[in-house]
Structures are given as structure tokens and as C-alpha cells.
Symmetry: C2
């Protein structure tokens, strides 16, 4: 074979295999309880509703559903999305503000392709969604991290960073934030900070990528307005997905943004996959039109809330002193912080030996820090698995603490 | 809003809107007969077979079908693909040689992302598939064109080009060819040239991208071996799609290549869309397992063959002297060559006025040449539309000839 490595493009050389992906392979061992994935609970999948819709589409609309569609998305789905945004988010938008995507990962790839040249500065949260860090890195972004606390990204530190970059005359491309029930930390940006964030974007002429995969999966409390809603300057690009509100198996999401941005992203999407499947778009449009989406979200929220509660109770029951965790009001994940001297990366093989898995927190840090943290998923495992898995994990952590302090030999 | 243009990445600035896409918008006027698209005949869609499969999947396999899948593709679909390749192409491959993609356009995007840095040389056919030219251009490729004749790419000219590039010490990345019933020209690479092509790739250490969207849609005669089959050196990357053999509405295809190449492409795919929808993969796997794919292909071939025959007869009946066209043994397109002094680009609005549409041939030329050519699609229109549309087109051409020569005033 030819010398492949010599042939690779620079974007390829920069793209690393996902740590999570490699870890997940190890978590499929028999008897393993895994908090490592980020998958919805398949027992919640709306099979009966989908069966009804599939049958109706094949009867009445197969010629459009099975054919090539337009790059921007089908009129039916866009129409339902616009109604949804108006009703649920108070956002008035036009079809030209929407680009249907092959789920949110494609949206992240398209905005990266659209805006990032090698060495371009991009601002991310610490910690941040691994899939976003990976794609930004693949396009050669120079990442600057802003720490999160329980109210999301620290906007005071963000302003300092923006002012500093401006002074350096660096032309940063965008700020990326998962604003609701963040992956991985489970925290939500407060309304006060949202307002500051949007006004800073305006002041410093920065684009904001607002990633909203979990926003609709809220168990309690009330959503703060989206950044898109608060912005009046066309600076916010919002990413939505049906992966958590319907099913992930169709790969379906959409981008909401200023029409000039959507037009550019649409041209890029055309070279990337021509269009997202018309079939799954018509399925989603019907799922919304028939009122099934909101009913399904209510069901999912009820199930995940009870799983979160089981996990919080188990953490309280089993974890030794010095271990802290977030209490998310929605989403799929919570975030565990071990004492600063501990290392969840090196502990990982011992957790696997004890048949429990998590994702190492350092994978969510653009600079590889956060070694004393881990992400736990509560949407996929059963109540019994959560109780037993947290018990196992606590045992591993306790042993690790003993070994570190030599206090319990 | 911020200054978007200042923000755009170079790949974005290089990506142009598709000519075809803009033209297609004009072809939806009432009464228009369009030979411009490239769509399968929706009357052939296998609705009954799909209804049966959808229902069975929701009953027995919904938890996998609706969940996230692996980046490389589901085991079920890969298994069926491997059996298919063995049976139909005499190719023995392993699961590690296959990457399931969101149809062939994503495959083209992934190989481009994997191998093309700005100014990298890439060799294409003249004419060549527009969607490939677009994506290569978006990554900044420097394209070299090799003319085609009735036996496909002129391998004698290819060798000269390869030798010349070698002398210049240019490091070309790959040679791109649609080997069977080429889009746009409808020609097929002869077996003799295939053998030369593969041995040249070895000699000059070049990768070959073999794009096979129409290979299975053969009306008569026998397929020559794939380049993948003829190569023993791991230099061929083959792109397959279900868009023409099942339906386009699922966006499903796959790449067959050396496992080291598949591993790199898989990592890139992960940042691009995580995975292709498991649902459509399981549908396709069942479609193959139940023997429906070959039956469906046979049906499609019968329908398209008769449409091609109607188009060939109409061309013969209506076209003035000096107009030439290809007679493809399969696929969806044929290629028309007007006398050298004519311009199908400038004629296009007059064709629209006469309610008939084609794609200008220059769109398929990397250097914008080929102004006297056009692509006609015969899979989508009905027999009656083909007959009437060719009649209309011939009238436009005749008028244009008169105007050019002033001989019939």
C-alpha cells in the first residue's frame, strides 16, 4: 500500500480517536454496570407511535419520504419546528432561519467547517462536551477554557478572556456553551449570566454556539430564556436535536440562526451529505404534528427524574466524605468531583475490575486537566443497576483513598 | 450582526453553491419537463417490502434500531454487505474493510477531509461528477483533468499526467473515477483500462477513489471487475450507495477499503455525525437478507432500460444533424454533445422558456469548459415526458443553430 501517513491531510492528523469510544469498548464486559454512555433509555422509545406514523407515511407520502429531499430540510418538518419554537420558546422565526441536520454532531461539524481555520481562537467551557472539543480540535482551533460553577459558565471570567483576546488583537471565532443541564457537568446557565453573555457577545463581536440537546428534558423548575431569544443582533447559533426527545436512531436535529448564517451552512451541508433523510424528517414532523413529542418528553422526564433521584440517594448513602457531585434539574448526567489529590484516570481500570464504569472527567477538559472528576450517566441503567453500581464505585473510591493516604492499612 | 465574511473559514470561502441546485429551483415551474435532476423513479419505490420490514423491526428489534449505533456501522448491515460483495463481486472482505456512511456524498466528504490539504493535486475525469468536484474544491484541491471517451477515462493520458506530476515532484493525493455508467457522461471504463489504471496506481503510488453509485443498475451486458477487485495493493477506496438500489430517502451507503484507511475514516466520521442512523441500517440489512435488493434492482433496471430506449429513440427522431449522444448500458444519465460552436449555458434560459430543462455540461468540468455539452436524466420522467421533452429540446437546439449560422432566416 502507499504511504498512508504521508498522504493524510492535516485535519486528519489532528483528529484523535475518542477516549470515550475506546473506553466504551471495555464497558461491554459481562456483569458490568456502566454509567459511561450517554444513551436514552430504550424502554421509553415510542414504538407504538412510530409504527402508526411509518404506516401512514408509506400509505400517503412515500414518494417524498423515500426520495432525495432539499438540503435545508423538508417544508413539513420546518413548519412544525417553527410552531414549536413559537409555542415553547417564544421565538418567532422563518423557514430561512432553520437548517435540518444529521443530528447535532453534524451541526457542530458544519459550524466548525464554516468558521474555524487552523489556530483560530475558540472559547469553550471547562468542562465541555467531548464531541465538540474533538471537532474543534480537528479543524485546528486554539481553545481557551472558561470554568463553570453551579450556575454554568463564569461570565465574569469570560469577559476577562474576551477583553484579553481583544487586546491581543486575536480574532476569536465563537464561544461554545451547552447552556442547559450541561454535558458533562449537569449545570445550567443562570438567567442573569445569559443576559450578560449575550451583551458581551455583542460588545466583543463574538458569535455564540448555543448547544441545546437536553433543554427539553427538564424534570423540575423552569427554563431560562435561550440565548437566541435574548439576542437581538443575529449573533447566536442554536443547535437542537431529536436524539433525546424522540429517538437517536434517526440522526436528526436542526440549527436555528440568522438567515445569512443558515445560507452559508446550507451550502456546506450540500457538499457534506446533500441532505438529511426525508423519511426521518417526515416521521419527526408527524410526531410533532400529532402532539406526540410533548407527551413523549413528559414520559422521558418522569423516568429520568426517578433515575436521577435513585442516583443522588445512592451517592449520599455510599460515597465517602470528600466526594462531591452536582444535582441536575434535567438532562442525562451528573458530575462527580473527587478530592483534588485523586486521579479518576488511573482509577479507571480498578473500577472496571469492580465491574463499574464511568467516563474520566479529563476527557471533557480541552487542556487535559480535571483528573479528579468523572461523568455519570443515569438515563440508561435501571434503578437496581444505579444503586448497585454506585455502591461498587464508592468501594473503589474508598480503597483508592486508603491507598493514597495509607490511613486504613 | 458581526462581520460574517471576516469570520468565515477558508474552506467556507472556497465552497460555492451548486449550479445544479440553483438551476433545479427554476425547473419546478408548471408544465416544465425536467431532465435536470438525478432522482430515481418514485413509482419503483419498494413500499410494500419496506412496510413489512418497518413493522418487523419495531416489533423485534426497536431497542437497537432506534438507539445510537457504532460509528463504523451495525454488524447486521456489514454482514449482509460482505455476503453481497462476495456473491456479486467476488470480493472477500472483513468487517474492518467497511465503513457505513450517510450515503456517498458523506463518503466523498470523508475521503476529502482525510487526504486533501489546500493545493494538493487530485486527478478527476473530464467530465466528472459535480458533487465530487464541489467537495474537492471546498478542501482546496488543485484539480487535474483526464478526458473520457466511450471507454471511460483515457488511461494513456492518465499515465502522462502521473509521469508529469512525478517529475514535478508533486505529491498527488488520489485519482477519482465513476467507473460504471458515469455521472454525467454515462460511459463505462473498459476492462483493459481498469487493469492499466490499477497497475499505474501501484507504479505511481496513487490512491484511487472508485465511485460506484450506478454499477448495479446495468440493463444489458456484463460488469467488468471493480478496481478494488483488480488491485492487490490496498490502493483502492470504493464508494457504494443504496440511493439507486433501494431508496435515496434513508441516506445510506458504505466505503470498502483497506482496514487502515477505514480506521482513519471512521475517526473522522465520528466527529462528523457520530454514526449513521441504526434504523435505516437495519432496514437495509433486512432488505438484503430477505432477497429484496436483487429483486428491486431487477425491477429498476427494467423500468430504466425502457426509459433509456424511449430517450434514445426520441433523440434519433428529433435531434438535428451535428448533435451527438452516448448510449449508456445502465445508470440514470446520458450525455449530449452539441456542435463545438454552440453554448448550452447561454441556451439554458431559452430551453426553460420552451419548458424543458437539462444540466449544463460545463458544471461537470473542473475547469468550466464543456460549454457545448449537457446531461440528460432518463430515470425520473415518464415515457410521454421523455418523448415530448426531447422534442422541445430539439426545437430549441435547432433555433439556436439557425441563429448561430444565420442559415435559416
Amino acid at each position: 500500500m502507499i504511504d498512508l501517513v504521508k498522504n493524510l491531510a492535516s485535519v486528519n492528523r489532528r483528529t484523535k480517536a475518542s477516549v470515550i469510544r475506546e473506553l466504551l469498548k471495555m464497558t461491554s464486559r459481562p456483569g458490568m454496570i456502566s454509567f459511561a454512555g450517554g444513551m436514552p433509555d430504550p424502554d421509553c422509545f415510542p414504538n407504538a407511535e412510530l409504527a402508526e406514523i411509518f404506516s401512514d407515511i408509506l400509505k400517503h407520502n412515500s414518494k417524498s419520504a423515500l426520495q432525495y429531499g432539499s438540503t435545508e430540510g423538508t417544508a413539513e418538518l420546518k413548519g412544525e419546528i417553527l410552531k414549536y419554537l413559537q409555542r415553547e420558546e417564544g421565538i418567532t422565526a422563518k423557514p430561512e432561519n432553520i437548517l435540518v441536520t444529521t443530528a447535532s454532531q453534524q451541526a457542530l461539524d458544519l459550524v466548525s467547517k464554516a468558521f474555524i481555520d487552523p489556530a483560530d481562537p475558540v472559547i469553550v467551557e471547562v468542562p465541555s462536551y467531548l464531541g465538540a472539543l474533538q471537532v474543534f480540535a480537528s479543524y485546528g482551533a486554539k481553545m481557551y477554557g472558561i470554568p463553570c460553577d453551579d450556575d454554568g459558565m463564569r461570565t465574569d471570567l469570560l469577559e476577562k478572556q474576551l477583553a484579553h483576546l481583544k487586546k491581543e488583537e486575536e480574532h476569536y471565532k465563537f464561544i461554545y456553551s451547552v447552556t442547559d443541564f450541561q454535558n458533562p457537568a449537569g449545570v445550567t446557565l443562570s438567567e442573569e449570566r445569559r443576559r450578560k453573555f449575550v451583551s458581551m457577545a455583542k460588545k466583543y463581536k463574538a458569535l455564540i454556539i448555543e448547544d441545546l440537546p437536553y433543554r427539553q428534558v427538564r424534570f423540575e423548575g423552569k427554563n431560562a430564556p435561550t440565548l437566541y431569544k435574548l439576542d437581538s443582533d443575529g449573533n447566536v447559533i442554536s443547535l437542537f436535536t431529536f436524539s433525546k426527545t424522540m429517538v437517536p436512531g434517526f440522526r436528526l436535529g436542526y440549527i436555528l440562526a440568522h438567515e445569512d448564517i443558515i445560507a452559508r451552512l446550507g451550502i456546506l451541508k450540500q457538499t457534506t451529505d446533500l441532505c438529511t433523510g426525508a423519511f426521518q424528517q417526515l416521521v419527526a414532523a408527524e410526531f410533532m404534528r400529532r402532539g406526540m413529542l410533548n407527551k413523549h418528553i413528559a414520559k422521558v422526564c418522569k423516568v429520568y427524574k426517578s433515575k436521577r433521584d435513585v442516583m443522588l440517594a445512592a451517592l449520599k448513602k455510599y460515597m465517602p466524605e470528600g466526594v462531591e457531585w452536582t444535582s441536575p434539574q434535567g438532562g442525562l448526567f451528573l458530575w462527580v468531583r473527587l478530592p483534588a489529590n485523586m486521579d479518576a484516570d488511573t482509577m479507571f481500570p480498578r473500577a472496571l475490575d469492580n465491574k463499574v464504569a464511568y467516563v474520566i472527567g479529563s476527557a471533557f477538559h480541552h487542556d487535559g486537566s480535571g483528573k479528579n472528576t468523572m461523568r455519570l450517566n443515569f438515563s440508561y441503567p435501571t434503578h437496581e443497576q444505579i444503586e448497585e453500581g454506585i455502591h461498587r464505585l464508592a468501594d473503589v473510591i474508598k480503597k483508592e483513598m486508603c491507598a493514597a493516604t495509607r490511613s486504613c492499612l
